[in-house]
């Protein structure tokens, strides 16, 4: 077979994206389209006392003012983490109750966007406000409910016996995804009561199930279409209330309706990364052998769903620590439900823990890379299972070499350049290898092409390209002979494009159906009543360079497929890891998205990396610049080094943004996100990013599935903030234990 897997094939969707031909959800304007605009509550707690919809109903073009009084009845759907498909179980406009600032209270639909937005701005709404709303993580937050716990050995005894100890508290703010694509959708009901929704989606099948559930529709009369997604990062995994409101409005007007949620309005109405606080006690011997980790955390959530992202399970897999105790708590606040955002559990937890490891290295006067070398676990410290593969120390070795780490003077404030303070820091990057399940169909056509159908998503991750490469590899074709269709709920069900699972699950599904289609072709050709391969053994046939071969006998794939009675060959199947419980595979796509890992029955699987960051700090202005970053990762088989590189690089860019810029600031008087736009919520721009080196090490993993590929979408962000914070300490001698790190934190 050709070596196509593992080559840096350019994106197959590249031309569509650089010419503007790629159609994202809101690019599907159509005849008769009406436009919706949201009216949001300026209070955080209370109720809607009255809405004078008559005041705007007569304005030009206005077709509908939808409020809690005329909203169609919806059926319940649980939040995804509770086994449903929704972002939040609580939905606006189902009653008059206000539970968070910015909750929608009305939807105005008009013939044009200008008319709808104008009328929405004029709609008179009276509220009865209740005091006491809290949208921030209070300093004295009581964690009365537990989000997660973990115990290994006797952590208290190990702590007591530790010669060197570090105690520290860390804090991260709420953050918003801010994909550049606005949230929103187009909903259209047909005359038979079917519903079609164009909505950016990481999970077309799950969204279809959720929307069908809520409107009491059969799934086959509900369709979710999302071939291109303008950035997702976890925020487009679940059914947002704004999607349901648009579907409801379109039902009432009987016309297609588009809702474009403004940048400002997205802050309260969509998902976000909740604020978190961690308290870490880390104990070690004088030689730097870790003995104890005692970890407690407070994690912000909403009042109505138990959405939280405890990170202890992952931290427990980093190093060999005989005594560990994790207690993770929930703190309820008056906000919309938080949700998945790029490495939801890992990003805050790894920042805190890898900062604490650096603090311990300082206390031990030890090279922080050496500290990690002394604590490499031979097996999973939690379950005692072997690793499917683990290359953390090799990542550190290579990263240190690329970065020039041996030139580091470990004393803080010891390095300068042209009058600036220079700091070098490192940290471990980690992400669990979640093993999910997916299905796919592959058809060989009489044109000698292959068509792959799968409801997986390409959220910029390269799914179109890697699935084509996998199919091409199995079928002896070039990737341009493979057409991949994704992002449509009518296609074969797939897992949610979250948790870095698509390459592994959908990749293995496509590999499986491609092999089945190839074998079915060989069988049909050898069993045919005529043709060059008649009577041969199927095992003697092979497929390469678009040609079926058996010894000297050859036939083009196009001719071979054309010769068959049906003029095509098709295979459909599901891939599930042998250690996935059968019942989990069966509940696929209906309730939640089944996932195994990081620990399976016989192994534990995670991807690891090592990140190095240089900061340059002006001694007077204290401005922090990042001239260079290095990340070395091992992710099993790299299916496409070009797209994998971009994923990891993008994670590191976001990591810098997380470390230095991003916070959704809370106005405590109004329990509201105060910097709700892109002018005030800062994300990294081009000028913030200096030299950035990404390298991927070879790593073989034969336990996680036939392809041996771990997901890479999320690991890239995880080590950046701690490596950067550690570099800031190295440059200044000031330890900043909260994000983002700002000038005022290092005035000294």
């Amino acid at each position: 077979m050709n070596a196509i897997i593992g080559t840096p094939h350019p994106r197959l969707d590249g031309r569509a994206k650089v010419t503007g031909a790629a159609r994202y959800a809101l690019d599907n304007s159509r005849a008769g389209l009406q436009h919706a605009a949201l009216v949001l509550s300026p209070i955080a707690l209370g109720r809607v006392a009255s809405i004078n919809d008559a005041a705007v109903a007569g304005l030009p073009g206005v077709r509908l003012v939808m409020t809690h009084r005329n909203m169609p009845a919806l059926r319940p759907d649980a939040a995804m983490q509770d086994g449903g498909h929704a972002h939040a179980s609580f939905r606006p406009l189902e009653g008059d109750e206000i539970r968070y600032h910015g909750q929608p209270v009305a939807v105005v639909v008009a013939d044009t966007r200008e008319q709808a937005e104008h009328a929405a701005a004029l709609l008179p709404v009276r509220y009865e406000a209740r005091p006491g709303a809290v949208a921030h993580l209070p300093e004295d937050a009581p964690s009365e409910e537990e989000a997660g716990s973990l115990d290994v050995g006797d952590a208290d005894a190990e702590w007591e016996a530790s010669a060197v100890r570090v105690t520290a508290d860390y804090e991260e703010p709420a953050q918003h995804h801010n994909p550049i694509e606005l949230y929103g959708c187009i909903a259209e009901w047909d005359e038979q009561g079917g519903l079609e929704v164009h909505v950016p989606s990481q999970w077309a099948g799950g969204m279809r199930a959720g929307i069908a559930t809520v409107f009491g529709l059969p799934e086959e009369k509900t369709r979710v279409i999302s071939p291109y997604i303008g950035g997702a990062f976890g925020g487009k995994a679940t059914v947002l209330a704004t999607t349901l409101l648009t579907c409801a409005a379109a039902k009432l007007t009987g016309r297609p309706v588009m809702l474009q949620v403004s940048r400002q309005q997205a802050f309260p109405t969509t998902s976000f990364r909740p604020a978190a606080r961690q308290h870490i006690r880390l104990g070690a011997t004088a030689e730097g052998k870790l003995r104890a980790l005692i970890y407690t955390s407070e994690n912000q959530t909403c009042r109505f769903d138990d959405v939280s992202f405890p990170g202890g399970e992952i931290l427990a897999r980093l190093y060999d620590i005989p005594g560990m105790k994790m207690r993770e708590g929930l703190v309820r606040t008056d906000v919309n439900a938080p949700g998945f955002m790029r490495a939801p559990a890992e990003t805050p937890a790894v920042f805190a823990f890898e900062s604490a490891i650096d603090e311990l290295a300082v206390a031990l006067k030890m090279d922080p890379v050496e500290l990690r070398r002394r604590n490499e676990p031979a097996r999973d410290p939690v379950k005692g299972l072997p690793w499917s593969s683990r290359s953390l120390l090799r990542c550190y070795e290579r990263g240190a070499e690329l970065f020039g780490w041996s030139g580091r003077d470990h004393a803080p404030r010891s390095m300068t350049k042209d009058g600036d303070l220079i700091g070098w820091g490192c940290a471990t990057a980690v992400y669990p290898t979640f093993i999910s399940t997916s299905s796919a169909t592959l058809r060989l056509t009489s044109e000698g092409r292959a068509e792959v159908r799968c409801a997986a998503a390409d959220i910029g991750t390269g799914t179109y390209t890697i699935l084509a490469q996998i199919a091409a590899d199995r079928l002896g074709l070039t990737p341009d002979k493979v057409t991949v269709r994704l992002g449509d709920s009518t296609l074969d069900p797939a897992n949610v494009a979250g948790g870095s699972t698509t390459a592994l699950a959908s990749g293995n599904a496509v590999s499986k159906v491609a092999e089945q289609a190839r074998e079915a072709l060989f069988k049909a050709l050898t069993e045919a009543e005529e043709g060059p391969f008649k009577g041969m053994s199927p095992a003697s046939l092979s497929l390469s360079e678009g040609t079926v071969r058996a010894g000297n006998v050859t036939q083009s794939l196009a001719e071979a497929v054309s010769s068959l009675p049906r003029g095509k060959v098709e295979a459909t199947d599901q891939w599930a890891h042998p250690e996935m419980p059968a019942k989990q595979s069966k509940m696929l796509w209906r309730a939640g998205s089944p996932q195994g890992g990081p620990d399976m029955e016989s192994f534990t699987a995670l991807a690891f990396g090592a990140q190095f960051v240089e900061v340059r700090i002006n001694p007077r202005t204290r401005t922090i610049r990042v001239p260079r970053m290095v990340g070395v990762y091992a992710g099993g088989t790299i299916l496409n080094p070009r797209t994998a590189h971009s994923q990891l690089m993008g994670g590191m860019v976001w990591g810098l943004s997380n470390a230095l810029l991003e916070a959704s600031e809370v106005d405590r008087n109004h329990a509201a996100f105060a910097n709700a736009d892109m002018a005030e919520y800062h994300i990294a721009v081009n000028a913030d990013i200096g030299a950035l080196d990404v390298e991927m090490l070879e790593e073989r993993d034969d336990k996680i599935g036939p392809l041996g590929a771990k997901g890479l979408g999320e690991i890239g962000i995880t080590g950046t903030a701690p490596a950067l914070a550690n570099a800031v300490f190295h440059a200044t001698g000031i330890r900043v234990r909260k994000l983002p790190i700002r000038i005022e934190d290092i005035l000294g």
């Binding site: 650089v18 200008e114 950035g231 400002q264 993008g650 892109m678 002018a679 990013i689």
Partner: protein
């Protein structure tokens, strides 16, 4: 903004979520907003259409001409996803009213390729994997072409600075810089200036 803890509060006039109501009654309360007859030249083609005068150039391109390559990301000139060229200058189409764009040559991403042949900047974006989700890409490409034409592509540092009006949430910045450097180094970039494509 008034104190929301008041027992009953009329919040209809303003809040800080971007839905600030006008202080005065809308003009012509009893009838439609003024409609203007516009003549616009986009990608070398002349379009005549009657539009609500509030319509932005961006919404006109996307919703009225079907040119959806320019993207909506913030509607306040903060993200650059809507960047187009107007008489050879890069502008934010979301901050430009359609009526104000008359008499200028507007070039969008759809106006760059010559048939199957991509513009060198489009090709460079593919070659350097200068995007992931692709949503900011049309704006990045329009901006990149102008960046070179302005003479702001002399070094990686200069490109980073002059491409910072175009946000990329996937974090493709280093590859965007490489793509711009690549085209700047070719020296013969086709620039769609005044007079159309």
């Amino acid at each position: 903004m008034r104190d929301p803890s008041e027992a009953e509060t009329d919040m209809s006039e303003a809040d800080h979520l971007g839905t600030v109501a006008p202080r005065a009654a809308p003009p012509g309360q009893d009838n439609a907003w003024p409609v203007a007859m516009l003549t616009l030249r986009v990608n070398g083609q002349t379009h005549r259409l009657a539009l609500d005068t509030r319509t932005t150039l961006l919404d006109m391109l996307r919703d009225h001409l079907g040119l959806t390559g320019a993207k909506t990301g913030c509607n306040q000139g903060a993200c650059g996803a809507c960047t187009v060229l107007a008489d050879g200058k890069r502008i934010n189409a979301c901050l430009t009213l359609a009526v104000a764009a008359q008499g200028q040559d507007i070039i969008t991403i759809e106006g760059l390729a010559k048939g199957d042949a991509l513009h060198p900047m489009q090709q460079a974006f593919v070659d350097h994997d200068a995007f992931q989700c692709g949503y900011c890409t049309p704006g990045q490409i329009m901006s990149a072409i102008a960046c070179i034409h302005e003479g702001h592509a002399g070094s990686a540092e200069e490109i980073r600075e002059f491409m910072s009006g175009n946000l990329c949430r996937c974090g493709a910045y280093p590859n965007i810089v490489k793509a711009v450097q690549d085209v700047a180094g070719q020296g013969d970039m086709r620039f769609p200036g005044k007079g159309g494509v």
